[in-house]
């Protein structure tokens, strides 16, 4: 393996580690929220710093790679996409930590089983986890063929989010005393919806890296 290939492999390995850490953050967030596990929520919040450190390190290592090796073509697209994906992963981890903080700090009653079911919380997490895992597989196998399938999953998240707004507004309308808790729940759902958007951004970066196509701001229809 040539020296620049070793350096490139190092960048790939680092983004893989960061990606897996963020996937595990989402898995833990799912469990913490659904079981109201305070210990786990604390762990998620403390691990957020580790994700931040990955982002800073990848930023610096990508800058060095560009400065020293002047990458072009697929190498340039890979480094650029790694930089953008690491920023996006850090934001996803921020949202996961935000949900964990809800578990830690809220004065409201935890989500009841009925609410979890109505708001389809578990399904939302499962979709997000499948998007994150599938995009990692796509990145590592340099295959963007399933990009449209991954992006289509975000529609499922958007639909759940949209129906959650209706459900929670209705609930707040019925019981004004519980408005604050309803809004806090809404913010949790909103964070999950934003994670879905960021997963889509990652897929767009993978398509740019592999096929040199820019999907940004074109929507999922054009994939």
């Amino acid at each position: 393996m040539k020296h620049n290939e070793k350096e490139m492999k190092f960048l790939r390995d680092e983004i893989n580690e960061m990606w897996r850490l963020v996937i595990s953050q989402i898995e833990k967030t799912k469990q913490a929220l659904l079981t109201n596990d305070v210990e786990l929520a604390l762990e998620i919040v403390s691990l957020e710093k580790k994700v931040d450190a990955y982002e800073l390190r990848l930023d610096s290592n990508c800058e060095h790679y560009i400065a020293l090796y002047n990458p072009v073509a697929i190498d340039l697209r890979l480094v650029l996409s790694i930089m953008k994906i690491s920023i996006t992963l850090e934001r996803i981890a921020d949202y996961a930590a935000g949900v964990a903080r809800y578990v830690l700090e809220t004065e409201c009653q935890p989500f009841t089983d009925k609410m979890k079911e109505i708001l389809k919380l578990e399904k939302m997490f499962d979709i997000l986890l499948s998007m994150m895992t599938a995009s990692l597989v796509s990145f590592n196998s340099e295959n963007a063929k399933n990009a449209s399938r991954i992006l289509a999953k975000d529609k499922g998240i958007d639909d759940i989010y949209s129906s959650s707004i209706d459900l929670l507004s209705e609930q707040i309308g019925k019981d004004h005393n519980d408005a604050r808790c309803g809004l806090e729940m809404m913010m949790v759902i909103r964070k999950l919806e934003r994670i879905g958007d960021h997963c889509s951004n990652i897929v767009e970066e993978i398509v740019f890296y592999i096929e040199a196509k820019v999907l940004k701001h074109k929507g999922k229809r054009e994939v």
Binding site: N4, P71, V72, I74, R77
Partner: protein, 248 residues
């Protein structure tokens, strides 16, 4: 401005260029890249018939400049070379003064008017971004200039006879980064008035200075496209392997 059709070129039995068809627009910079021996310099030298000077060479196909086949028997080769200037890898000033190097082409072309020559020398040295550096040593030997200045002097010498095309064969490969940057800046300026074709081993230089890039390998033109596209998303895997250093 330059159009080639099905060019095949041979050094004796060896075929150096294989069926090259391409066109270069006026007032653009076209870069040729590729590994050593790929035929890029041979192709460049076709445009001012420099290969004619090599024994045992043979050309097939057409090379049209401004619509005329420059290999037609009616072509005056001296007039052709006046219209198509060339700058080489190593600066090659004449053993004369800075002034006389630039004035040489004018004198050879029969111009005797001293004021016209003096004005033209100044104008051309300014166009080559050299005048400010040499205005106090115009009558000193060209060999007293630095390598980068000598190369810009050679560019000025080529420009003095008002060519429309400038061929550059690795014009900065023997220069330090500062002189290289000056030559590259000059290329950006010159393309407003001239059509430039440059051969370079330095791919970053091709990326920086050219509008279009042709990638040659084993005598074939593998890919020819906009430089930005070539360096972000080349069409051919062979091109990608070469420019990313995966070759061999």
């Amino acid at each position: 401005m330059i159009v080639t059709k099905n060019i095949n070129f041979y050094y004796g039995d060896f075929q150096a260029l294989k069926n090259i068809t391409m066109s270069m627009d006026a007032n653009t910079v076209t870069a040729f890249i590729g590994p050593s021996g790929c035929g890029k310099s041979t192709f460049l030298r076709l445009f001012n018939r420099m290969n004619d000077l090599i024994d045992g060479t043979r050309l097939e196909g057409e090379c049209l400049i401004k619509g005329k086949n420059i290999y037609d028997k009616s072509i005056n080769i001296d007039a052709l070379r006046k219209d198509i200037g060339m700058v080489f890898q190593k600066p090659n000033p004449f053993p004369k003064s800075v002034f006389e190097n630039v004035a040489y082409g004018l004198r050879v072309n029969g111009i005797k008017d001293k004021k016209f020559i003096a004005d033209k020398v100044e104008e051309t040295l300014k166009a080559a971004a050299l005048f400010e550096e040499v205005k106090d040593k115009l009558h000193k030997s060209a060999f007293e200039l630095s390598g980068g200045q000598q190369q810009r002097l050679c560019i000025a010498r080529a420009l003095a006879v008002e060519p429309s095309i400038l061929l550059m064969d690795e014009p900065a490969s023997a220069l330090d980064p500062i002189s290289t940057a000056k030559i590259e800046e000059l290329i950006h300026e010159l393309k407003k008035k001239y059509t430039i074709v440059i051969v370079t081993h330095n791919m970053q230089q091709a990326a920086r200075v050219s509008d279009k890039t042709g990638f040659f390998m084993l005598g074939e033109l593998i890919e020819y496209s906009d430089t930005k596209k070539m360096f972000l998303n080349p069409d051919k895997e062979t091109t990608q392997n070469y420019i990313t250093g995966r070759f061999g």
